[in-house]
Amino acid sequence: MPTKKEPIWIARDLAKCSGCRKCEIACSLFHEKRIWPEASRIRVFMLVPGLDFPHFCTQCEDYPCVGACPVKALSISKETGAVLVDKDKCVGCGQCIDACPGRIPHMHPTENYILICDLCRGNPQCVKVCREGGWNVLTKVSRKEQAYKLYARKPEEITRDLAIKIYGEQGERLL
């Protein structure tokens, strides 16, 4: 686990997700001071029961969302590698959503700006609660030269993969 200040990444073992949503509680308490699942930067999808998984920014190597923003509201944190949203600049146009291969960014439920995981300035709250509980779906690792973009996938795509992995042949029929 990285200790010094350096770009990080949250490794994810989606099939282990218990669906407890403690990550959402921790994230929204940290960023919004409320328990607010729909304002959480990390959201657990459960399109098929039992196939719960967290959906959140993977910090693609080429950051397509940042490039797509017409008002330069998105930037890359030098410290952590996270995508940072300038709430005042963001106009809520949604172009970053379309640019993201996983359609991960989502609008704040009551404010006019986009929500993207900011890695909690290097100390991700979601990772903390997930490890505390021993589910270990989320692990903080050093950011290397890997193809993180592969992890930016749409909820339906992830669900399909998990269906086969967890339910086998029967999984295909349940989609």
């Binding site: 328990i35 039992g50 989502h106 009551t110």
Partner: protein, 622 residues
């Protein structure tokens, strides 16, 4: 307004298709909290004066979905479903886990009150303050898995169309019924997430009688403001810490009990409770874990325990079955109780029960009852539409479960639940078969026997409970015992999962209540007057009963006859319950909760609790 509540309830009249918002006074919320307590209050206020005439499956019954102030805050989210029960003709606060309660509060509502009945199948879609009654003809008849899938897709599509700039919409939370609920089977559940069920009470049948296939909610707001967020966070952390350290229910859920309650405490239903001991290692949790678990931890909003384990059968005769690994109750009732001792068959039946929208406990109880009648030659193969209902004949039990869900042939009779079916079969065969019905007040008894005295219920627990055979609401003295119905009522009224409170200090839940609502509440004040008042309301409605059946405490505050037979096997062979002893204990319990020697709440106690109208209504029973 009290903190922790969204501040308003949704009332939906399915007859007129009108929707409105209503509020309850702070005083009512302080006294009845939410969930089960508030359900008793709402039902008494609205239906109390004509209770005995209300058909639980008629349009005049109410169907309630109620959260509590702690829902979403206390780790382990649930929602309480209630109404006049088609099983007991009283009131059951039936809770089911999931995100529904949290979504509802985030949508701005503390609960939904459904009145009337629709002519056509419908489902309700709540997106924050937008409420729609949508057609459900295309979903009517569908099983649990198909229902969840169709509604999830449909609601996400609607959200996408209406809010195209939002990004990806998550699934709404859904409560639904399967075919059993549609067919008003009295052992039908209100279900969530394929496998979770509000089982006790039979509210799936009430939902079906209203032609309400499902309720889907998407709430995008935050949970309501609380009085002291710092303390809420601290208390959440202490609950979680305790669970992580104690590991209770974490590793195996309650799934270790399918073997252990039989082998160790001798209190597991086996072949319709003819025995309570088995030593079948084939039913050990290791076999479940190694052969069918496909996910070792599964849970609901905020839960540190995640006691559910998902099971799937991937090969062999029962291939394709998927459910949460049967918890102890479903292991027992769809396992040993039917003479079944292998994980795959148990998972197969549990999965089928989920799909049909049946209650695993109540249906397992009635299946076991039917099988014993077959064993004794009282019900013949012809009576059972050709089914060879031998113990362990999984396919025959599956076929009968389907018949029950669709009310076909003999299934139509068994769909009435064990007690009512026993009365009908008794008439049919001109003999008393109640001796084989293991139930109390129309509610099949949870899978924890009382004969060995090694399990948690007391010998009078089921006889005196205002929720009949419900193993999550056992009558127990002293009244502040953690197993006491009055203590359990707090969990079901503040609405959270009581599996997360076993190791924490007793006062923590009241501290939690204060941190959320800002209201001081001690355990003493909770027990008397608050919980006692809720208990009297539930007792009054249970005794007023009707229209098809009424309970006479002198006859029906009793254990099933089976519990007076000596245990035939195991380390506690020969042990039984002494009838005279139980009768004494029942009288003790009456005294402790303020009921007279006939089991009717006493006037002086009701007046002290300001329940004068309840007293007047009970006058005719005295």
């Amino acid at each position: 307004m009290i903190l922790g509540y969204a501040g308003k309830f949704l009332e939906v009249d399915l007859s007129t298709k009108k929707v409105k918002e209503i509020k309850f006074s702070d005083d009512i919320l302080k006294d009845y909290i939410g969930g089960r307590g508030l359900a008793a209050k709402i039902l008494w206020d609205r239906l109390g004066s004509k209770w005995s005439e209300i058909d639980p499956l008629g349009p005049e019954n109410l169907l309630l979905f109620l959260t509590g102030p702690l829902t979403g805050f206390f780790p382990g989210g649930r929602i309480c479903v209630s109404g006049k029960s088609p099983q007991s003709n009283g009131v059951v606060g039936s809770t089911v886990a999931g995100e529904f309660g949290v979504e509802l509060k985030c949508a701005g509502y503390d609960g939904i009150i459904v009145t009337g009945a629709s002519e056509e199948p419908v489902y309700l879609f709540v997106k924050d303050s937008e409420v729609e009654i949508r057609k459900a003809n295309h979903i009517w008849g569908k099983d649990a898995k198909q229902t969840v899938s169709k509604i999830t897709k449909e609601c996400r599509e609607l959200l996408r169309e209406r809010f195209p700039r939002k990004g990806e919409w998550r699934e709404p939370s859904i409560l639904y019924i399967g075919p059993a609920g549609e067919n008003k089977v009295r052992t039908a559940v209100v279900a969530a997430k394929w496998t979770h069920a509000a089982g006790y009470g039979g509210y799936g049948a009430v939902m079906g009688s209203k032609k309400l296939k499902a309720v889907a909610v998407k709430g995008t707001g935050p949970l309501p403001e609380v009085a002291d967020m710092k303390s809420v966070k601290r208390l959440m952390q202490s609950v979680c810490k305790d669970v992580y350290e104690s590991e209770l229910w974490r590793r195996w859920g309650t799934g270790a009990a399918g073997y252990e309650v039989g082998a160790k405490t001798s209190s597991e239903p086996i072949r319709n409770w003819q025995e309570e001991w088995h030593d079948e290692k084939s039913f050990g949790v290791d076999q479940f874990e190694n052969r069918v678990w496909v996910k070792p931890y599964w849970g609901d909003f905020g839960c540190p325990t995640t006691c559910l384990k998902i099971a799937a059968v991937k090969t062999g005769r029962f291939k394709g079955a998927i459910t949460d690994n049967p918890d102890y109750e479903l292991q027992a009732y769809l396992g040993p109780n039917l003479g079944i001792f292998t994980p795959e068959e148990n998972v197969f039946l549990a999965s089928l029960i989920d799909d049909l929208g049946l209650c695993g406990i109540q249906t397992g109880n009635v299946l076991g009852f039917a099988a014993e009648l077959f064993q004794r030659g009282i019900l013949t193969k012809e009576d059972l539409d050709g089914l060879e209902l031998r113990w362990g004949n999984t396919e025959a039990f599956a076929a009968l479960a389907r018949k029950i869900a669709f009310r076909e042939g003999i299934g139509n009779l068994l769909a009435e639940g064990t007690y009512r079916a026993a009365l009908k079969i008794g008439e049919m065969k001109r003999m008393d078969v109640l001796a084989y019905a293991v139930q109390s007040k129309g509610i099949g008894i949870g899978a924890h026997g009382i004969r060995s005295r090694k399990d948690y219920p007391e010998t009078y627990s089921y006889a005196c409970s205002v929720q009949g055979g419900d193993h999550t609401s056992t009558a127990c003295l002293p009244l502040d015992d953690f197993r006491s119905e009055l203590i359990m009522t707090f969990n079901d009224s503040a609405v959270y999962c009581y599996f997360n409170i076993f190791g924490i200090p007793r006062n923590l839940k009241f501290e939690f209540y204060r941190a959320v609502t800002g209201i001081e509440l001690t355990q003493e004040e909770w027990l008397n007057p608050k919980a006692l008042r809720i208990l009297q309301l539930q007792r009054a409605m249970l005794l007023l009963g009707g229209p098809d059946l009424k309970w006479n405490p002198k006859i029906h505050d009793a254990n099933p006859p089976r519990f007076y037979e000596p245990l035939p096997s195991g380390p506690y062979k020969g042990k039984t319950v002494d009838r005279a002893e139980v009768e004494k204990e029942i009288l003790n319990y009456y005294e402790a909760v303020g009921w007279d020697e006939n089991g009717i709440p006493k006037t002086e106690n009701l007046k002290k609790l300001e329940l004068d109208d309840v007293d007047r209504a009970l006058e005719k029973l005295r």
